[in-house]
Symmetry: C2
Subunit: 568 residues, 2 copies
C-alpha cells in the first residue's frame, strides 16, 4: 500500500474515505495473514482511526493507544504504509506504537490501562508549557475494567488538563468483557447515556458524548468535531460503539479466534496441558479453582471453564485483583490456580509479595509465555519473571523441562501447601520425565566430566543438549542437569558437584535469575561459573530463536567458552 | 486494659457501650503515645468497630481491614487487650492485622486497596464450600481511589458472592482524599445517596446504605443490623461518615499530624532535604514537577506544594497511575520527581518497566523509607527495592551515603536524561561529600589492605566505619568504599581493585542486590566475596537496628568473617 499524505486524507470526499477504509482493512488483513498480529480489533477501528486523522492534526495533536492492538490503521496513515509489510518482523515495524519508529507515535504501549494516565501527563505538560494541542487517549472497553484506568479517571479533576478519551466499545477484551463496569457501559445503550450516567461522568470531570455506529463515518466525523470543540472547556469521553472485526464476516463472527493471529499453525501445548491437568485435578478435588484476567482461551482454560463454571473465575483485565482474590480464596482452604502471561504478572508484583507470599498462602501462579516471546516485542517478552520472583520469601519457583514434567508439577501442586510459581513458554513437547520432587534438580546426562550444565526450562535444556553433542564431537564430555527449581535451590545437589566448571542457561534476563543464584551458592568455592541469559536491554520484536541467539543464548559462543574452559 | 469477652459486649447496654468506646479511645491514645502507631484513624473508628463486634459474630464472621490502620479497637475487642501495651514492639502485637496473631484476624494487610478483593475471595470460598457466615471489608475513603478497589468492585457481579463493604469515610487518606471518586462520595451527602447514586451502585451489584454519623452508636447499630439482613440477598455498601481523631480535639483538628505517631521526636532529614532541593531546582527550572500518591507531608513535599501548586500533583493512593503520569509528563519534556515509600513503589513495578524504563524517560523516583523501617513490620519494610529494580534495563540506581550527598544527587538529577531511582532511609545526617558522578563509587578510607568494603547507603556506611575501626584494633586494615550506585556499577573501580577480598553491605534483601551484582562482576576472578544483606524471610516489626542485626547485618558476625579472611 502506498503512503497517504495528511493533505490527501483531509481533502478526500466521504465516498473516497469509505473506499480508503476498505483498502486499509484489506491491507491489514493481507499483512496479518502473512506476518501475524492483531486482526479483529484493528479491522473494527479502521473508520474510527480514519476519522481521528481527518479531524485532528497529528503529530501536533497527540494520540495514545491503550494496549496498542488498534494502531495498525494509524501506522498506515502516518507514513508507514510502504513499510507495513515488515510488520512484527525483526527490524520491521512494531505491532505496537513506538516513539522510536515515528513522531506520530507519542507514547509506547503494550500493557492495558495506561493510555489515560499517559494522556493526562502529556496534557498537563502542554498546559504547564502554555502550548496548544489536543491529546487523545483511545481505549478499548476491555481496558476500562483495569484499575489503572480508574486511577486516571479519579485524577481528571486533580490535574485539570483537558483530554479526549475515546472509548472504543466492541464488547470484547480478548475474551468478552466482563464485570460491573461493562454493565455500566452497557447500561449506556449503544452510545446513548441516561441523565444519571451523564451526571456521573460529570462528577469525574468528563463531558459524555456517544456515537451509535462507530463504523459509520457520517456519524463519527461530526461527533469528533463536536468533541474537539468541547475540549476547549472540558475533558470529554466519546463512547464509540464499533464491531470487532468489522468488514470481515469471518472475523466478526469469531473475534476470539482472530484477536491475535499467528502466521503459521501453532501447537499450544503447555496451555492445553494446563487445562487438561486442572480438569483432572478438579474432578476429584473440590478445592481447585481456576482464575484468569481476560485470557481464558489463550491460557488453555476454556475446557475447564466449560466443565466447572462455578470454580472458574475470569475477572477481566484486573491482574492485581485476581492475585488478591486468590489469596482470599486460599485463606479459606481453596486451591486457586492463577494462569497469566509472564509479562502481565508484573502488574500483580506487589500482591504476590504482600498478599500471597506474605501470608504464605497456597496460590499457584501458572506463568505462560515465559522467556522470549518474539513478534510482540519489548512489552511482551517474558524475560523478567525469574528476576522479579527470585527474592520473594516463601515462594517456590518451578521451571518444567517439557510438557510432561509440567503436567506432573501441576498434579503435585495440588497438595503443595505454599505459594508456587511455575513458568513455561508457549510451545513445548511431551517427553520422558523422572520423579519430580520440590526443590530437586534432575541429572539428564551424567559423565565424569569437569563441566556441569544447569539448564532451566525446555528451550535451555534443548540448547544444553546441543552443547553436549557439539562438545562431545570435540572430545569434551559435559554433564547436563535439569535445573527445574530456581527456588528452593537444590543445594544438596550443588554441594555434591565435584566438577570445576558450572554453566547456567536460562531463558530470562541474566540479572537476578538462575545464574546469580548458582553464583551466590558457589561464591568463594573456586569453581568457574559460566552464566547465560539475556543482556540488560529490552528485547525488541523478532523471531524468538533469533532473539535468543542475539541477546545472550548464542550456541557457538557458549560452546567456545565451554571448550575454552576444558582446554585451559 | 482487661480483655472483654464477646458475651460482655453482646449483653452491654447502650450507655455501657458508650463508656466502653471512651475507654477504648483512652487505651489507644495511651498506648500510641508510648509505642507509636496510627492514632486518628483508630480513634475515629472506635464506635464503628464496637458496633461491628456487637452485630456480627467474629471469628465465625470474617472482617478484612483495608490497610489496617483502623484495627486497634478490633484487637482490643478480640482477646488482645492484655497484650496491647506491646503494640508494634519486637515480639509484641503487630500494628496491622496478622493471621498468625489471632483467629480474629482473617487476612493480613498493610498496603491499600486489597480488602474487597480478599473479602470476595473469602466469600466465594464460603459459597463454594456451602458454608454460612458474613464477610466484611472495612475500607477507608482514601483507599477508594485505588485501582485495586475498582477492579474488585468490577468483579462483584462476576463472583456473585455477597459481602458487606463498610466504607469508613472520614474525608482523609493520610493527606486529605482527592479526586473524582471522592467527589462522587462527597456528592452523596453525609451518607445519603441520590436516586442516581443508588442506581449506579446497583449496576455494580451493591445495595447502598448510609450512616449519617458514624460516631453515634444509636445510628450505627440499626444500620448494621439492616445491612446484615440485606446480605442474605445482595452485597451491600454501607457508607459511614466518621470523624478522624474523634473524641480527641487535638487529633480531630490535626489529623495529618496525628495519622501516624512516633513515640519520640524524629528528624525527617532526607524528606526535608528532598523538599528543599526540589524547591531550589524548581525556582530556576520550569520543567520540575513533584508527584506523590497521598503522602505529601511524610515525603517532605509540603513546602514544594505550597510554593509551586501548579507543578505539584497528589493523585491519591494511585501508585500505578502516578508512574504513568510521570512518563507522560516526561515525553513532553517535563522533569517529574515521583516521591514514594520503597514498599509502596512495588505497586508501580510494571509501570516502571513498561512506561518509564521501556521508553527511557527521565523520571526520577525518590524512594523514601528504603531498608528496614521497623515498627510497621512485614508490609512496610523497604528491603526489596534494590532487588526489584536491579534487572530493569535503562534504570540508574543511586544510594546516597548521607543527606548532603542526597542533596547533590537531586541537584545533578535535573540534567540527567534517563530514568533514575534514588533510595534512602527516613533519617540521616548531613556530612562531607566529594564529587558525585553517575555510576562512580567513592573511596572513603583507602589503605593498602587486602580487604575492600563496598557499603551502600548511610546505615551500611556507618556499619562499615565501625567494622573498619574494630578491625584496625585487631591490626587489620580495610578500605571503605561508598558504593553509591548499584547501576551502572562502577566497573572501572572494581576492575582496579587489587585486594583479594571484597565485602558488600546493603540494607536490602541479599538476593538480587549489590552483593549479587558485585559477585557477578568478580565471577571467576578468584576474589573472596563476603556479602551482607537480609535473609530470605519477611522481616517482622521491631526496632530497626535490632532487626538489622538479627536478619543479616550483624556487626560481630561481619567482623569475625573479615578477620577470618585476614588471618586465613
Amino acid at each position: 500500500m502506498k503512503n497517504i499524505t495528511s493533505g490527501e486524507l483531509k481533502n478526500a470526499s466521504l465516498p473516497q474515505l469509505k473506499v480508503l477504509c476498505e483498502e486499509l482493512r484489506e491491507e491489514i488483513f493481507r499483512t496479518v495473514s502473512v506476518c501475524g498480529g492483531h486482526l479483529s480489533s484493528n479491522l473494527g477501528a479502521a473508520e474510527l482511526t480514519v476519522a481521528l486523522h481527518r479531524v485532528f492534526d497529528f503529530p501536533t495533536d497527540k494520540i495514545v493507544f491503550d494496549v496498542g492492538h488498534q494502531c495498525y490503521t494509524h501506522k498506515l496513515l502516518s507514513g508507514r504504509a510502504d513499510r507495513f509489510h515488515t510488520l512484527r518482523k525483526e527490524g520491521g515495524l512494531s505491532g505496537f506504537p513506538k516513539r522510536e519508529e515515528s513522531v506520530y507515535d507519542c507514547y509506547d504501549t503494550g500493557h492495558a490501562g495506561t493510555a489515560i494516565s499517559a494522556a493526562l501527563g502529556i496534557a498537563k505538560a502542554r498546559d504547564l508549557k502554555g502550548e496548544k494541542f489536543n491529546v487523545i487517549a483511545l481505549v478499548g472497553d476491555g481496558s476500562f475494567n483495569n484499575g489503572l484506568i480508574f486511577e486516571a479517571l479519579n485524577s481528571l479533576k486533580i490535574l485539570n488538563a483537558n483530554i479526549l478519551i475515546v472509548l472504543n466499545d466492541n464488547g470484547m477484551s480478548i475474551s468478552p468483557t466482563v464485570g460491573g463496569t461493562h454493565e455500566v457501559l452497557t447500561g449506556i445503550k449503544e452510545g446513548r447515556a441516561s441523565v444519571e450516567d451523564v451526571a456521573l461522568f460529570e462528577r469525574f470531570g468528563l463531558q459524555y458524548m456517544g456515537v451509535y455506529n462507530g463504523n459509520d463515518l457520517t456519524e463519527l466525523l461530526p461527533a469528533l468535531e463536536n468533541a474537539k470543540n468541547a475540549l476547549r472547556n472540558t475533558s470529554v469521553l466519546l463512547h464509540v460503539t464499533t464491531k470487532k472485526g468489522h468488514g470481515y464476516p469471518f472475523s466478526e463472527n469469531a473475534p476470539l479466534e482472530t484477536h491475535g493471529v499467528s502466521p503459521h499453525a501453532k501447537c499450544y501445548e503447555y496451555s492445553t496441558a494446563l487445562g487438561e491437568e486442572l480438569i483432572s485435578l478438579a474432578e476429584k478435588d473440590e478445592r481447585i479453582v481456576a482464575v484468569t484476567a481476560a485470557m481464558t482461551d489463550s491460557l488453555g482454560l476454556r475446557p475447564f471453564f466449560d466443565k466447572f463454571p462455578k470454580r472458574s473465575i475470569d475477572v477481566g483485565i484486573c491482574e492485581e485483583h485476581a492475585s488478591v482474590l486468590c489469596a482470599g480464596l486460599a485463606t479459606e482452604g481453596m486451591k486457586p490456580y492463577y494462569a497469566i502471561y509472564s509479562t502481565f504478572l508484573q502488574r500483580a508484583f506487589d500482591e504476590i509479595i504482600h498478599d500471597v507470599c506474605g501470608q504464605k498462602l497456597p496460590v499457584t501462579f501458572c506463568i505462560d509465555r515465559a522467556g522470549v516471546t518474539g513478534a510482540d516485542g519489548e512489552t511482551h517478552q517474558g524475560v523478567f519473571d525469574l528476576s522479579y520472583l527470585s527474592f520473594i520469601p516463601n515462594l517456590t519457583i518451578a521451571i518444567p523441562k517439557n510438557v510432561t514434567e509440567f503436567r506432573e508439577m501441576i498434579r503435585l501442586s495440588a497438595d503443595y501447601p505454599y505459594p508456587l510459581a511455575i513458568r513455561y513458554p508457549r510451545e513445548g513437547t511431551e517427553g520422558e520425565i523422572g520423579d519430580v520432587k520440590f526443590g530437586k534438580f534432575e541429572v539428564l546426562h551424567s559423565t565424569m566430566s569437569d563441566i556441569v550444565i544447569l539448564a532451566a526450562g525446555e528451550r535451555c535444556i534443548d540448547l544444553a543438549g546441543h552443547l553436549c553433542a557439539l562438545a562431545k564431537e570435540q572430545g569434551v564430555d559435559v554433564t547436563v542437569v535439569n535445573a527445574r527449581f530456581l527456588k528452593p535451590l537444590d543445594e544438596e545437589y550443588l554441594s555434591a558437584v565435584e566438577a570445576g566448571c558450572v554453566v547456567t542457561i536460562e531463558d530470562n534476563a541474566l540479572i537476578g535469575g538462575l545464574g546469580d543464584a548458582v553464583s551466590r551458592f558457589y561464591r568463594n568455592s573456586g569453581k568457574t561459573i559460566l552464566s547465560y541469559g539475556y543482556r540488560d536491554v529490552f528485547l525488541p520484536h523478532g523471531e524468538a530463536h533469533s532473539l535468543m541467539e542475539k541477546y545472550g543464548l548464542n550456541l557457538q559462543k557458549m560452546l567456545s567458552e565451554i571448550l575454552g574452559y576444558a582446554r585451559r
